[in-house]
Structures are given as C-alpha cells and as structure tokens.
Symmetry: C2
Subunit: 325 residues, 2 copies
C-alpha cells in the first residue's frame, strides 16, 4: 500500500510516499481502509514532541471502513464505519490502511461525510478535555478561546456553543474572526490588543469563566485579569513561544482560580478512555446540525498531501485541513 512518511529535508519536515506492507492488527486492534485523514501541525514541527517516526507512516487520525479485526474485538464487524486517533499502534493514518486501538474508536454517525469524520478525533477530543473535563463549562457561562482559528480552538468554539455558552475569540486576522463569527463566535478580538483585559471585562460584563489558551504565555495574565471567581485557565498550546509566565499566586488563591495543562504527550490509557467516552456521550449526539459541524478549511487529495502540509505551515487555515483518499 501507499503510505506517507515524515522526513526532514533541508531542516524542514516533508511528507514523502513509500510502498509498504499492509499492517496486521494486534488482538485489541482494528484494521481499516482509510477514506479520509487530517493534518495536525504538531506532527510537522522539526524537533517537536509529536514528530513522526521514520519507521512508520505519519498521521494521527482518520475515518474509514473496517476490513480486519483483532481477536479480542467484539463490538465491531467488517464494514463498520469508524473514526479515531491511531496513536499507540504500529501504523500511521497517512496510509491506505491503518490500525487503531478499539478504545480510541468512535462510530461515525450516518449523516457524516468521510471528510467531516476525519476532522473530528484529534481536535475535538483535545477540545473536549479543555472545555468539559478540565474547563467544566456550563450553559450561559463565557469562555475565551485564544488563537480560535486553530483546529483545537475552532473545535472548542463548536463544543462551547453546543453547551450553550458564549464564546469570545482572539486571532491576529480580521478575516478569520469574521469567518468564525458565522460559526457562532459571539465576540472577536483582534490581537495583539493593548486593552485586552478591559475588552474582555466589558464584553463579559464582569468576568469570563474559562480560558482555553491555544496561544500561550503572551495573553495569560490579560486573560487571568478578566477571569471571574473560580475561573479556570486551560493551557492547550504555545504558538507564541512564550513559555514562562509570572503569575500572582495571591490572586489565584483569593479568587479560587484553577490553571491546568492538558497535553496528550504522556496521557494514560484510562484517561484516553474517559475522554473518548465522554465525547461520545456529551458532544457527538449534538454534532450533526448545520451550526455544529466540525470546521473544515480545505480538502486535499491523498496525492497532494505534502501540498496540504505546506499550506498548513503557512498558518492560513481556519479549523481543519482534511485529506481524502
């Protein structure tokens, strides 16, 4: 089969095709024919945490049709349509066939296209952890999502709206803010913004409940200064490269603030299961209306996957970049 591997050429990551064997499922794994997969920026950052493995195809999520079952699999049959993260297996998702652990699988609702399904796993599960598991967002609360056009940011917007919350988003691009307003974002702020705290307090009428911080340290204290009592900050990304943030722990103490990090770099199987099951229960049933679909920026064909990677690295997209096979 054809599979794409991440290779570093001239100090830049590239996706290059190879011809490899179709992988074989372990007893808790499922083999599926990939119909659609999606790109994640982290996989292309040279020296980054999620950098590809030269011995297996790149790619972390896909949607497809089951063609093989490990001996322990009881809940699926050949032909079932699934989506999910392929992490923890010997295969990647940038391939014609891929393996997936059963506990990572999500059945695809009938109304979904392959492209929509492939855009869900990585971003929506991370956004679920940020907004629901750690963020505890509830109806009529207000969340701030920094770098809201990022894939997790855009998924966080959709999940927040499903929960009945109001969403403030930040982006450096006026165009991106306009597009995301059409997806339900209630208030957009173009950054950098000198008076960010004041704008947040003005819009939220006294304080935001949750910050989903996809940007990093540069907005941390502006956001914290606009938090209401028992406010929560969930750190999701650090695109600005500002890792060190001076925080006032007396303020954290008096206001009962909580600060969390939710990277999946070292996450345990138990926590993965809780996230996948929680997402299926709380969000998936509400993710099939016109307003609440995953936000897809552009679809590339499998043969053009490296052009998709290049497009992604130029930071132009809003939401997901999907690859169709």
């Amino acid at each position: 089969m054809k599979a794409y591997f991440t290779e570093v050429v001239d100090n830049q990551s590239k996706l290059l095709p190879r011809d490899v064997e179709i992988p074989k499922p372990q007893k808790d794994e499922i083999l599926f024919k990939v119909k659609s997969t999606a790109l994640n920026r982290g996989g292309f950052i040279v020296g980054g945490v999620m950098h590809g493995n030269p011995n297996k195809p790149s790619g972390t999520e896909a949607a497809g049709e089951i063609v093989g079952l490990g001996s322990d699999i009881k809940n699926y049959k050949i032909g079932d349509k699934i989506m999910g993260r392929v992490l923890g297996t010997d295969s990647g998702s940038f391939a014609e066939y891929a393996l997936i652990k059963e506990y990572q699988t999500i059945k695809i609702p009938d109304s979904y296209s392959w492209e929509q399904a492939a855009a869900i796993p990585v971003s929506f599960l991370a956004a679920y952890d940020a907004v629901v598991t750690y963020g505890k967002l509830s109806k009529d609360q207000i969340t701030l999502i920094t770098s809201i056009s990022s894939a997790i940011g855009a998924s966080g917007l959709v999940i927040s709206k499903i929960l009945g919350a109001k969403v403030i988003g930040t982006s450096t691009s006026e165009r991106k803010l306009e597009v995301l307003s059409s997806y339900g974002m209630d208030f957009g702020i173009r950054t950098p913004e000198q008076n960010l705290t004041k704008k947040l307090l003005d819009f939220s009428n006294g304080g935001i409940n949750l910050v989903v911080n996809c940007l990093g340290g540069s907005v941390f204290n502006d956001a914290m200064n606009a938090l209401s009592f028992k406010g929560i900050i969930v750190n999701v990304g650090y695109m600005d490269g500002m890792d060190n943030v001076p925080i006032n722990i007396r303020k954290v103490h008096a206001q009962r603030y909580s600060i969390h990090g939710i990277s999946n770099a070292f996450v345990t199987k138990d926590d993965i299961i809780k996230t996948v099951e929680g997402f299926k229960r709380d969000i998936l049933p509400h993710l099939d209306t016109d307003n609440n679909k995953p936000i897809i920026d552009k679809v590339f064909h499998f043969d053009e996957i490296d052009q998709g990677r290049e497009y992604m690295m130029n930071n132009g997209q809003i939401g997901k970049i999907v690859i169709t096979l």
Copy 2:
C-alpha cells in the same frame, strides 16, 4: 455577655473585652454557649483580608452547647453539642455566646473534648478543600506540605494520613519537624534548602502527587519540579510574602499539572455546604483515634485570650492555639 473585639492599637491588633448583648438568631441560625474557641492568624494581621469588624466580636470558630434555635432549624435541639465556623452571622466566636448558620454546623462526636472540637472547623475544612476537594489525594500517594506546622498544614498532615498517603513536610524549625514526625509525618525537610527539588524526588522515588503550599511563592517552582505526571499544587497561604511566581506553562501543559487557589475570602454558600458535608462524610468518622486527633499546641483561658494572640504572632506554635471558657 463578655466578648473580645479586635482593635488596632499603635498599629498592632489587640483583643480587648467589651460587655455586649447576647445576639439573637435569625431563622437559619443557632445560638450556642461557647465552651471553647480557637485563634486564626489571619484575623490579627493589620490590613489583612480577614481583619475583624469593629462592630462585632472577633473570632471565626467555636465549639459549644445549643441554647437557642432559629425558626427554620429542624435538625438540632437545645443542649446539642456543635462546632463550626461562625462566619456570615452578626456575632463572633470570642464571646460567651455566638450565632452560627445551620449549614456551617458539625455535631461533635462523643469522644471529643471541647478543646479538640474547637480546633477543628477552620483548619480542617480548609485542609479538606486542599487535600480532598482540589487535591484529590488517594491512598499511597505522596503529598508535600510546606509550612507544615501551620494550623492548616498540621490538619493537612492528619487528613493525608487518614487517607493513607505519605507526607513530606517543610519547616524552618528542626524542633517542629521532630514533633510532627510523632504525628505521622514521613519525611521532614528543614527550609530554606538549596536542593529541595532533589530531596523531594529522592524521597518520593520519582515524584510527588500533591503540594499543599502553605508557605507561598518561594518554594513553588522547587515543588513543581518534583511533581509527578498530573500533579496538583494547591495554594493555601503566602507566609513568605512572595506572591509573584514565574511558571513554565509548557511544563504545566506537557505534564498535565493543575494549580489551584482555595481562599475562603469570597467562597459561596453552595461550596461551603459541599466542604462541610464532605468533611463530615470522609474525615470526621476517622478523626477519633490517638494518631488522628487535631494537633493542639497550647490552651489559653478566655481571660488570657490576648496573650494567646501574642503567642500566635510569634510563630512558635505547632497546630492550633485553643481558648477555653
């Protein structure tokens, strides 16, 4: 009745007696004869958050016998023995009689002396929030308690041992560490300590699960560097006056750390009820063995309460300073 009021004399707080009317209970309040009360440092810091009110007796917790019931009270009768925080009423606990909201009350187990009961409410409820509500400490985990000789620190030690955890404590005093070892503290570190992170990692064999930080910013990063995956830091006090702490949010992110503040300065009635009910359910039934009693440093008579305050402000005590009437 005789009641003590906090007054500022020559820029120092003092407890001075006055003769005042016995207060009358509102419909959700209970009037009780104070048998024992306890001191809390926060109440004596000039300009501090919890500074006394010149119009009501000082003091935030007590144990005593019920002598009057508001019209809504159904679960208590005259003569019942209760303890609790008297916050939110028109009276203070440094008085012969005090009011208490029913939702703040805890029935005193038969085996308790009045002195032991009075030592419980403020410190154990705060320590419960730190160790259980936010800290999620479980059996065989390891907690670090900084300034462990403080009243909340010592209560955190007792609660952690009831839960079956191991406890590392820090203190500037070798004598205090020795005394607290006799109450079950597994490992003591005298601070300041240059190699604090290394000592913590050595003792915990790879990482501590929870930091109950009663000291403040000066030990924050040393403690964070010794946290295991999904470790939690709960900020309880800031005796060192170091409020601003530079934290590495990339590390918080990768390790799924959580940082919380748990001041009661603005806490809501719903959260108070959860804490009081949780403490009654999880800890109180196990708080009557020799090892697990509240740690009392010294008992003063009501007539000597201002000497007790002075003793407290000299930072010599381990655990609670109790006042008996």
